[in-house]
């Protein structure tokens, strides 16, 4: 990027892609002593051109590139694309498939929130210990995925018309056992980290985003809900089985890093409740409607599908032209919206250099999602 000019009394730090705590991006910080005057996010280090690639893949082949947008939470992203394809081609989905989709989406959400929680704790004081605890808990969920689909992260389990396979024998009991184990672990995390006065000192009152600013700047996901706005696509436009399930939308009022962490924490609790409900009440029936491998679309149809991923709201807008491949796929990424909020935080609140990693990870960016 052609960088804007620097004024003489500030120093520009390039917090670059090779850094333990920056992720795959470069962030330019103009500092004046300890106070951050300006933040410039230089993204694009993981740009793969997914929107162009999807124009060259048939509708079912397109699931593979698009689910590699966020590896921690591939279920929700793939669901967004598959639902848009189903709406554009007019395909119906059976009830049992919708419930299985919700189950896998919630497991993906817990996976991603654990990752975000581990990273936020790690950058607060370089506690890789808690991050390594979270890797063990993710193994429990990854074993469940492997039993069901065969792969750990990128399973391509949703296809237009349903899901690929039914739940194996004894899977519902295993889900319940995993939920019991995870509930016990979350009590440990709450006691060790969130009720920890040192952790609170680093996170309370840091990076405050008010309710009006969150709406005006287009924040999404836990960033928006941590500032008191209760918008959640699972409740506003119910998709998959969320219309039949019973869960709460978590909001907190303060808008600082601790509030966002608490939103994620309580969302994990709600996801565990949803998993138990699904394991108890899932209806019977087929899991797939037969669709040809190369479905052909009608020309001039467009379909926008919105889902709630762990980071926020994802939109997939498909335009068709009558062929076997889409004409254009526009992806509305959640992290791109939140990175704009991150850039403006230096003007909205007094930010110190030492607080910057904590704020960045409380916004929970996944750069492959904003670069696509």
């Amino acid at each position: 990027m052609t960088e804007p000019e620097i004024k003489p009394e500030v120093m520009r730090i390039s917090w670059g892609p090779q850094h333990p705590m920056s992720g795959q991006t470069r962030i330019l910080i103009d500092v004046d002593g300890e106070i951050v005057r300006r933040i410039i996010a230089d993204i694009g280090f993981t740009h793969r051109g997914i929107e162009k690639i999807l124009e060259n893949r048939t509708f079912i082949q397109g699931i593979v590139p698009i689910e590699r947008m966020v590896m921690a939470d591939t279920a929700n992203i793939a669901l967004g694309y598959v639902q848009a394809v189903e709406e554009a081609l007019g395909i119906e989905v059976p009830e049992r498939a919708k419930w299985i989709r919700s189950l896998i989406c919630e497991m993906g959400r817990i996976n991603s929130h654990l990752y975000a929680f581990g990273l936020q704790v790690e950058c607060t004081g370089y506690f890789p210990a808690v991050f390594l605890w979270t890797t063990v808990d993710r193994e429990v969920l990854l074993d469940l995925f492997e039993k069901l689909t065969g792969a750990r992260w990128s399973y391509s389990f949703f296809i237009p018309g349903g899901v690929r396979a039914d739940l194996p024998e004894g899977f519902r009991d295993e889900v319940k056992r995993a939920v019991k184990y995870l509930r016990r672990r979350f009590q440990d995390y709450w006691d060790a980290m969130v009720e920890n006065p040192l952790f609170e000192m680093r996170n309370r009152g840091v990076g405050v985003l008010s309710r009006e600013d969150a709406i005006r700047l287009g924040a999404t996901g836990p960033v928006l809900r941590g500032s008191g706005v209760d918008m959640d696509v699972r409740r506003d436009e119910p998709y998959a089985a969320y219309g039949d399930l019973d869960f709460k939308v978590i909001t907190e009022r303060e808008g600082d890093c601790l509030a966002r962490l608490k939103v994620r924490f309580h969302e994990i609790e709600q996801s565990l409740n949803i998993m138990e409900q699904i394991a108890d009440e899932i209806p019977g029936g087929p899991v797939r409607t037969k669709v040809s491998l190369f479905p052909r679309s009608k020309p001039g149809v467009e379909a926008l599908s919105r889902v709630e991923t762990a980071r926020g709201e994802l939109g997939v807008h498909i335009f068709t032209d009558g062929g076997m491949k889409p004409y254009r796929v526009k992806i509305n990424s959640p992290t791109l919206r939140n990175m704009y909020v991150f850039e403006r935080l230096a003007e909205l609140d007094r930010v110190l250099v030492a607080d910057l990693p904590v704020i960045l990870y409380s916004i929970d960016p996944w750069y492959l999602d904003c670069d696509r």
Binding site: M1, P4, K52, G315, H317, K330, R337
Partner: protein
């Protein structure tokens, strides 16, 4: 004031502001699409933000309709009360795609307009920082998401 539903909004726009629009339809529940006239776009956008409270910007993107010789720019907007998705569209001629930037109305469209510029070549007048967002800063090639992009500018 009670937030308007999709049908009420479309009715009111057609009744009172039909000189600013080309078309306004409700695709299905929670999806409304408005095509604005190019010279009245700023006025319509300001009206949507101030009178109808579409203050929550979601995203923006473009499509290249090469056979019809036009490009269409779409802005996705939401109202935090009524929570349906409004798509504000405008058609631009393909050989000279210029339009006023919407950052003067919704500040958060800055990143999305930068991406539309570097991928399609649409020139946004009044944008504070129209530089490359996702592509490398020394990209010398064409506009990647146009339909006639042949892979120029790719240097190893």
């Amino acid at each position: 004031m009670q937030a308007r539903s999709e049908e009420e909004l479309v009715e009111e726009l057609k009744r009172e502001h039909s000189d600013l629009l080309v078309e306004a339809v409700v695709h299905r529940s929670k999806r409304v699409s408005i095509v604005a006239k190019r010279e009245k776009l700023l006025e319509l956008a300001r009206l949507l933000r101030d009178k109808y409270s579409f203050t929550h910007p979601v995203s923006a993107g473009a499509i290249d309709y090469i056979k019809e010789g036009k490009m269409q720019m779409i802005y996705y907007l939401m109202n935090p009360e009524s929570r349906f998705m409004l798509m504000l569209r405008v058609d631009l001629p393909r050989d000279n795609p210029k339009m006023p930037s919407m950052t003067q109305i919704w500040e958060a469209m800055s990143f999305h307009e930068r991406e539309a510029w570097e991928m399609f070549g649409i020139d946004f007048e009044g944008h504070p920082n129209l530089t490359h967002l996702l592509l490398p800063p020394d990209w010398r090639g064409g506009y990647p998401l146009r339909k006639d992009f042949k892979g120029e500018g790719i240097a190893p």
